[in-house]
Amino acid sequence: MRGLNVALASVNGPGDVKVSNRLYNRSHLEVCYSPSTGHSMIRERALESVIMRTVEQAILVHLHPRTAINITIQEMQSDGLALSASVNAACMALLDAGIQMKTTFAAVTCCITPSGTVIIDPTEAEIQESVAEATFVFESSGEASVLTAHQDGRLSYEDFKKCLHHCQVASKDVFAFYRRMTEKKYQNEIES
């Protein structure tokens, strides 16, 4: 949830898989994204593809050959941050399901206004007025390397670096949130 952006994610797996999708050495990943209104169309397929390629880098797929891991994301409310809210929801769902991962990941979206200001977590209105919009997904290690980068609009190299830097700083908050939530979940056991 990011202000007015709400996404609901659920993970099923590692479970049974159709013979046609069965892979001998790794798990088959499927992402299903449903928009809040209307039918699933090309935009949703594109989002699914971006989310899948991100998630694939984090999950240890070689531990579960001949299985399928299904990630289902329902967009509840969207105010411009559908992609980053969905990616973060997917990460939390994977943590909750106990699927083994190399790292956690966090998505941050920013946009650049015509005057050159970088706005982190813009609203839909701010994105409409911006020159370009960029979403970065970082992994949780010290250097926060980029797992996925998705841009819309014209970005000069300098602007790209500025956006990347701002998003990298903002991603620390998301990782801190994951840690707080996990600590809350296990707090009864830590005490005993």
């Binding site: 050959p65 399901a97 190399k102 949780s140 994951y178 996990t182 296990y186 009864n188 056991e189």
Partner: protein, 243 residues
């Protein structure tokens, strides 16, 4: 008969901290440092660094066994674990059993006490089996047996009719069979019952009356949301209301 308590056997289990996937636990070089360490579920060793692979509570025993205790519902078959399965198919001499994992387990008709080629134990579809996994890895489909190494049943086999089976999260199943947790004993002070717990999150309960069985099921399900201490009081209240 003397026996080591669970805690003594594990050599003092302690919770270290909450970890997320990718967190560095410790760096370990097999060439350098003295003793060896043992990595349990949820940890992996890569490039000299031990990292967590799951989100959960990192625990260690005094014998240098580290593992991550996670709350999850999906069962991943593990060798030597006792599980409850449901018979789904009969294929010649082999039965296919659903144990809640991604693949069905198989069990041969000879894997029961006193079974031989002449005296078969016929299982009906839908029967509940309590057995041990002897083969369970990511490369092969799991295999179960209902006898131990000396061909004795040791409590395994087909569960009698008339009980109720339900699913719980894996950590609840592990919690109730922990000898240090008195939950099941507390329940037994009010109701007389039989319980079989599978490490795949399946629990089978049988009591004299149907309403006792439903009450016991609800008591065990309370542990999903509460600590055993909180659940103890509520469970006793529920069972007293039953009398």
């Amino acid at each position: 008969m003397s026996y080591l308590s669970h805690r003594e056997m594990l050599g003092g289990l302690e919770s270290v901290r909450v970890v997320l996937p990718g967190d560095e636990v410790m760096s370990y070089n097999p060439d350098s440092s003295g003793g060896s360490i043992f990595l349990g579920p949820g940890l992996r060793w890569e490039d000299g660094m031990v990292r967590a692979a799951k989100a959960g509570l990192l625990k260690k025993t005094s014998r240098h066994l580290y593992f991550v205790d996670t709350h999850q519902k999906r069962y991943i078959p593990q060798r030597r674990e006792y599980v409850i399965g449901i018979v789904t198919k009969k294929k010649g001499d082999i039965y296919k059993i659903d144990i809640g994992g991604s693949e069905q387990a198989t069990i041969s008709f000879l894997s029961f006490e006193n079974a031989s080629k002449k005296t078969r134990r016929d299982l009906a579809l839908g029967d509940l089996i309590y057995g041990q996994l002897i083969v369970a890895n990511k490369h092969m489909e799991p295999e179960m047996v209902c006898i131990d190494a000396y061909d004795r049943a040791m409590g395994m086999g087909v569960l009698p009719a008339g009980g109720v089976m339900f699913n719980v999260s894996l950590q609840v199943a592990r919690e109730i069979i922990n000898p240090d947790c008195p939950f099941l004993l507390t329940l037994s002070k009010k109701v007389k019952y039989t319980v079989v717990v599978g490490m795949n999150g399946r629990v089978w309960v049988k009591a004299a009356h149907q309403n006792s069985m439903v009450a016991l099921m609800n008591c065990i399900l309370m542990l999903e949301y509460m600590t055993p201490d909180e659940a103890n009081e509520k469970a006793l209240k529920l069972l007293e209301a039953l009398m």
